[in-house]
Symmetry: none
Subunit: 226 residues, 2 copies
DNA sequence: ATAATTTTTAAAGACTTTTTAAACTTCAAT
DNA sequence: ATTGAAGTTTAAAAAGTCTTTAAAAATTAT
């Protein structure tokens, strides 16, 4: 997956940024014009856009507006115009952050990381974690404090759903529909039996569950207290 | 709902920021020390933190780390130290953005909006609060001054309804219909019994209720009179 | 095909919540 | 002050929910 889309008409500048981002472990794509970039955004998905404001035909503000119409991707504007008006215009057109040129490439990287972290994006890894439990949806491996737990299918799906909705009280019906599917002749009460088996495996003390809590008259809740 | 927590030891500066944020439609709370702020964060929930780096005892970086341990709330650092090292340290300790002092208050506002938009919308996720009580409809967790209260279903629904109509006198019939549903053979007088259990749990002194007041000949009212 | 594993069912038991009813207190009007 | 209606408090009964088993059924692997 290509992470970063750099829209920058100065080839030297663009290359510096791209090289550094790659060195930092991202993958990056450089694009000298807004038109090209917009086309690229149609086909590929990026984690973030670094957008130069001074561009040949279509300027950064127009570009920003155009990207926003299509995608809710984080946009970081880069500009030599350090005045208030320019910055405000940047934010108004939908930018997430604005950095003055010339900038420290390290600060730029930090900003990129901060934005990616916040937009939940970046990592599309399929790893869920909380309360010492890690669940990897692609390998279907679940660990507690690093040790692998052997869950069977229903237990895995239950845990996955609960972890995807970590902190929420999930109703038993919702759980049942999510794991068994809406049209199914199984007794919904089977949910609690599987929750039992699951607790047997993931809880330190299955009789006083701390990871999967019961929410009376509602259902269950995975994880943190608040 | 209090949106913005401003941690700033210079009272004049703090007040300017607070006033402007309020003028912009946010609600804001000013806090001169990190210690106080951390305590406040225990009990209340905020949409964003504006964090001054130069603070009396505990500095901004430490504070940032401490907040991050507790909450995944957006943090915007404000600092007169404009060098690269300081900024990187800010991002490393978990800040989402960093603004150099002196700054344009309008740019600060734009940054606040951008961050809020990004972090799950800034919209309250179904949290109700008042009188030191916080009620989260999605996790169904209720806290008073940060400590979790264990309410059962009817108590929760009663409190939710009252908080949704905070400051209003809600008639007993209205409450009964909202919580029990219109067609139900239960005695409506059971409402007062549940109010009692609820007061037992949320009031400091259940015999002289200050959070859920009785409105004679009408019903009950949550929170302050205006 | 047989064995092993997983999933479902059903039912008992433990526990929590909700209701009821009755005694008690407070309020406001006479 | 007295009175009756409105509100509170309590404890115990009733209703309901969740847990835990064990065994049967279904599925999967050998």
């Amino acid at each position: 997956m290509t992470d970063i889309l750099i829209i920058e008409d100065d080839p030297e500048m663009g290359q510096i940024i791209k090289d550094f981002m790659i060195k930092e472990g991202f993958s990056a794509r450089l694009c000298p014009t807004a038109e090209e970039a917009l086309e690229l955004l149609e086909g590929e998905s990026f984690g973030i856009v670094l957008l130069d404001v001074m561009l040949p035909k279509m300027d950064g503000y127009e570009t920003c507006t155009a990207i926003r119409k299509k995608r809710d991707i984080p946009i970081l504007m880069m500009s030599a115009m350090t005045d208030e008006r320019s910055k405000l215009l940047g934010y108004e057109t939908g930018a997430d952050d604005y950095i003055d040129k010339p900038f420290s490439i390290k600060v730029l990287t930090a900003k990129v990381r901060a934005l990616m972290k916040r937009s939940g994006g970046g990592e599309q890894s399929g790893k869920l974690s909380g309360c010492g439990i890690e669940l990897d949806t692609s390998s279907r491996i679940v660990t507690r404090d690093g040790a692998e737990l052997k869950l069977n299918a229903k237990e895995f799906e239950l845990l996955r759903y609960l972890m995807e909705h970590s902190g929420e009280a999930v109703s038993k019906d919702e759980l049942f529909n999510a794991v068994w599917g809406c049209d199914c002749f199984t007794e919904p009460s089977t949910v609690s039996v599987h929750i039992r088996w699951l607790r047997e495996k993931i809880e330190r003390d299955p009789n006083t569950p701390e990871i999967i809590r019961t929410v009376w008259k509602v259902g269950y809740r995975f994880g943190e207290q608040r």
